[in-house]
Amino acid sequence: MTTKKNKPNKYNLVVKNLNVNYKVTKGTVKAVNNVSFQIKAGEALGIVGESGCGKTTIALSLIRLLPNNISKLNGTITLGNKKINNLSDDIFRKTVKWKQISMVFQGAMNSLNPVLRIGDQIIEPLVNTGESKSIAKKSALELLDLVGLSEDIYSKYPHELSGGMKQRVIIAMSMIHHPGLIILDEPTSALDVSVQAQIMNLLKSLKLQGISMIFITHDIALTSDLCDNLAVMKDGKFIEYDSLANVLTNPKHDFTKQLIQSVPSLSLSIPSRKLPSTKKSILDFKNIKVDFIVRKGLLSSEPFTAVSDVSLKINQGETLALVGESGSGKTTLGRVALNLIEPSNGQVKFQGSLLNNSDDFSFRKNAQAIFQDPYSSINSFMTIYQILEEPLVIHNIDNNLHSEKINEVLKDVNLVPTKDYLNKYPHMLSGGQRQRVGIARALILDSKFIVADEPVSMIDASSRLEILGLLNNLQSVKNLSFLYITHDIATARQFSDRIAVMFFGRIVELGKSNDVVKNPLHPYTRSLIEAIPTLNPDNLSKTRKVISRDNFHPSCTYYDKKLNRVVDYHLNNVTHKCRKKHPKLTEIKKNHFIACHL
């Protein structure tokens, strides 16, 4: 093994008739039902399915980490020319685990031991097999370099790293024994799209070295970046298993078709929505700056700027999408719009009058919010009737009108017949239904302005479009104005009139939705669009050109700390102004603004 140290072992994996049953309180669950597949050396198999379909169970049975409540486990697993399902646990642990098959688990945040240094965790399996610590460290440093991390990460603790860096560490860790097969279980979930794209790039490069992969995901769009073959899983079975191109171009099963359709397509042309004729603004941000005080111990504290110098108008009857990744300040700006936090600087005008805390109450009646999480945003101790009545009680609406208004608004959000819902508690409803209740609550006071913060990101893919359609509909019927906050520029395009892209607390690009998506002017917007996973078999040979926030200098959006230079993947004429001064938002084309020195 020492001789071919940096080359992965190559072999085929053949799984035949794998069955796994779980024992639960009410009988048994067939988690994996007669599944067979094979992976040739250097190939990647994608397994797509919704949560609970059994895809993780396949992974766990390959690496023998199934929980204790297994009532049935059979089938043959052959690695190279060796049957590994018959090996004793001890031999399996010593010869197969991590050495031939390793795994990258879901949830980068929790996959690292919080009290051990990164380096020690990477080299642990190697040291455990008798390798000396210094040699192990050498190969660990090589791996860190391979996954794009610097050497100083070696002696850091997990909490000092960002999510993307942790995921890179975990990938490096999975390769310490140079296994032939890596199982990747949702390796990019909970990561921002840019980071996700970078991790996918990394995986792609590893695959080119000849490592076989099993890529497990709920997001079919990601598979075209990595996989040669694709299996779609539902209720423990492979309902579709073929080469990626075949599945994408000729899906046999309805469920597969549905999955493929749910991927937002940027290439699709949708008609530009008509901008509302009135230029009257309903909400007007002027030079908004929001600082948070981050306490660093008892005596010292440090301000953290979440939003800086944002000026933005939302016109009456329009939907403005605020697009950005986590930490971009989009949610903070949304909270400013709702007058939930006071900006440290600047002013907000609502319907022409200045917002301050004193007329809070009348403002509340006119501006409402729809929240991301349908499970925590409505009080689970109240019935639907009580939830919808609360705004009426707070705003002293005549008691006799309550019942009528509640019925009306339930009809508006398609929860009919209304009497079926009035006395239910939220836990009796599905996620989509709960979100409709949340929307109804925002509508019941006849508010004209609604802030919708990721209203569909926690809802099943199937009902997402319905909810967005409902919002669209309500907007035109009731002439509402929306501030639509999202990380997903693709749905933003479908649902909004204009898009504002936020990055590090600033708006870097603003324009009509189609213009921004079709013809992005700002490098960050381009990177964001580039990062969006799309379904295309050609992706396999393509590297997504994205810029990562991890490497950015906070004072300049394009300054790459790691490379210590200003970079841009699209434009070559970079000026040094970028390092010194923040660019102003300027109109480049008609109604299309960017903030860039270039």
Partner: protein
């Protein structure tokens, strides 16, 4: 989230939930019984009043120990209210009271006593005499006395012993010994002096005077004869009580003062529940409201409450409790106040951290953007999410309060006007009950404390699965 009904089912499906609830109901029923039957000032007028307990055997084990073969004398209280015979003698009247008892125990009574209640006379004081007719037909006059004469200037009718009865301990009375001495000398053929027999008169009265075993008791029928001689037929005595002290008493025995332990222990039920529930309820209320206010309002209020709570919760409870009680005197309400004072901070710190989590949840954000006032948010949106946890805390804190009071009492800092289990136990311990072997004085109060605490632990245990999944979800 599950509904209330499911929660109830889950709670009662566990053994500990069932056991705890059943025991709690029993304890509450006993407490209700005590509250309605005991006088309010039970502690001062009865429990701590030695004369109330003078006719009880001292340090007597429960009667049921005889099951295990221990020799036993039944405790007998004989009340004479109406004479069996009235014999006029010249211008006097002799009222004769009599009682026959069959004595078959192998040990003599532990003591003998006589009490007179409510004597009223008009001319000259009446006389009383007590004699015992033994199975061997020996009649011994053991006691003879004249009711105290009128004081100077006192007008008739003369009332005696109406406030408290006149009681004479026949076992330790020297005049009784003098009355007995001739009989004893005669029977035992030895020159015993009065001083030799005083204090154990009862042994001689019931002795068989066997030469082989001087301790042997004469079995058979004994007749107690009391003559009450009056000079005026209107003179009266309401009751004469003759007590044969037993070697065991009641269900739970007596302490060294003769106090019936079962009476004292019964009184402990409502007190224990009162201490536990009141303290924990107030503590939980303060802890919860402080925690919610601190967590929700934040800022300076938060800092002040947290600093305060942090300091208080870091103070070792028992030494401070002892110190304060020692200085301010042992009063139950003070003990409870201090327990509350030092009990709320712990809860406040936990509640606050939970509120901070809830704060960032979208339901609070939603309520805020609806324009709900901060009190409404705290009451309608935050409190319900915490309620199951708070209830479990209340249950869990109850035994802590009960045990704290018991510990204080055990260290001799109990409120003397309110007898508690801890105090009874302390009396037993301080009297040396552990070393002498007064187990009936030590074990039951301790056991009751443990069982009471256990009830709440069981309930808390059964509540845990009901409360916990919600906690995890937050």
């Amino acid at each position: 989230m599950s509904t209330n009904r499911e929660n109830f089912q889950e709670f009662f499906s566990s053994t500990s939930g069932k056991l705890g609830s059943i025991l709690l109901v029993i304890f509450i029923l006993i407490s209700v019984f005590v509250v309605f039957t005991y006088p309010l000032n039970f502690g001062n007028t009865i429990w701590s009043n030695p004369s109330y307990w003078s006719d009880y055997p001292k340090s007597a084990p429960p009667t049921w120990v005889s099951i295990f073969g221990t020799e036993n004398v039944e405790h007998q209280i004989i009340d004479f209210t109406s004479p069996v015979d009235v014999i006029p003698i010249s211008n006097q009247e002799q009222r004769l009271y009599s009682y026959t008892l069959n004595y078959d125990s192998n040990i003599s009574p532990t003591f003998l006593s006589l009490s007179m209640y409510d004597v009223v006379y008009h001319d000259r004081p009446p006389t009383i005499s007590v004699s015992i007719l033994r199975p061997d037909n020996e009649e011994i006059l053991i006691y003879r006395d004249v009711i105290s004469s009128p004081r100077q200037g006192e007008e008739g009718p003369y009332v005696r012993y109406s406030d408290s009865p006149f009681r004479i301990n026949l076992s330790g009375d020297k005049s009784v010994s003098s009355n007995l001495i001739e009989f004893v000398q005669d029977k035992s053929n030895s020159q015993i002096s009065v001083n030799d027999i005083v204090g154990s008169n009862e042994k001689y009265i019931f002795s068989s005077f066997s030469s082989t075993n001087p301790q042997e008791v004469l079995h058979g029928e004994y007749q107690i004869l009391i003559k009450f001689v009056v000079n005026n037929e209107n003179d009266s005595i309401s009751k004469i009580r003759f007590v044969l002290g037993g070697s065991s008493y009641g269900l739970l025995g007596t302490d060294s003062l003769g106090r019936n332990l079962s009476v004292g222990l019964l009184f402990g039920f409502p007190i224990a529940l009162l201490i536990g529930l009141t303290t924990s309820t107030i503590t939980t209320m303060i802890g919860t409201s402080m925690g919610i206010i601190s967590g929700y309002t934040g800022g300076r209020t938060d800092t002040i409450i947290q600093r305060f709570a942090d300091t208080l919760s870091n103070i070792p409870l028992l030494p401070i409790l002892l110190f304060l009680i020692f200085i301010f005197g042992p009063q139950l309400w003070l003990v409870m106040t201090i327990l509350v004072l030092f009990g709320w901070p712990g809860l406040t710190i936990i509640i606050r951290s939970m509120v901070l989590q809830i704060n960032s949840s979208q339901s609070i954000e939603a309520a805020k953007s609806l324009g709900a006032s901060k009190w409404r948010i705290m009451y309608r949106h935050i409190f319900p999410q915490l309620a199951p946890f708070i209830f479990a805390q209340l249950v869990f804190f109850t035994p802590a309060a009960i045990l704290a009071e018991a510990s204080l009492s055990f260290l001799g800092l109990g409120d003397p006007s309110i007898p508690t289990w801890g105090q009874i136990l302390e009396n037993g311990f301080r009297t040396g009950g552990v070393y002498i072997g007064y187990w009936w004085w030590i074990l039951p109060p301790g056991l009751l404390i443990v069982i009471t605490a256990m009830i709440f632990v069981f309930i808390a245990l059964a509540l845990e699965p009901v409360v916990n999944p919600k906690l995890k979800k937050m």
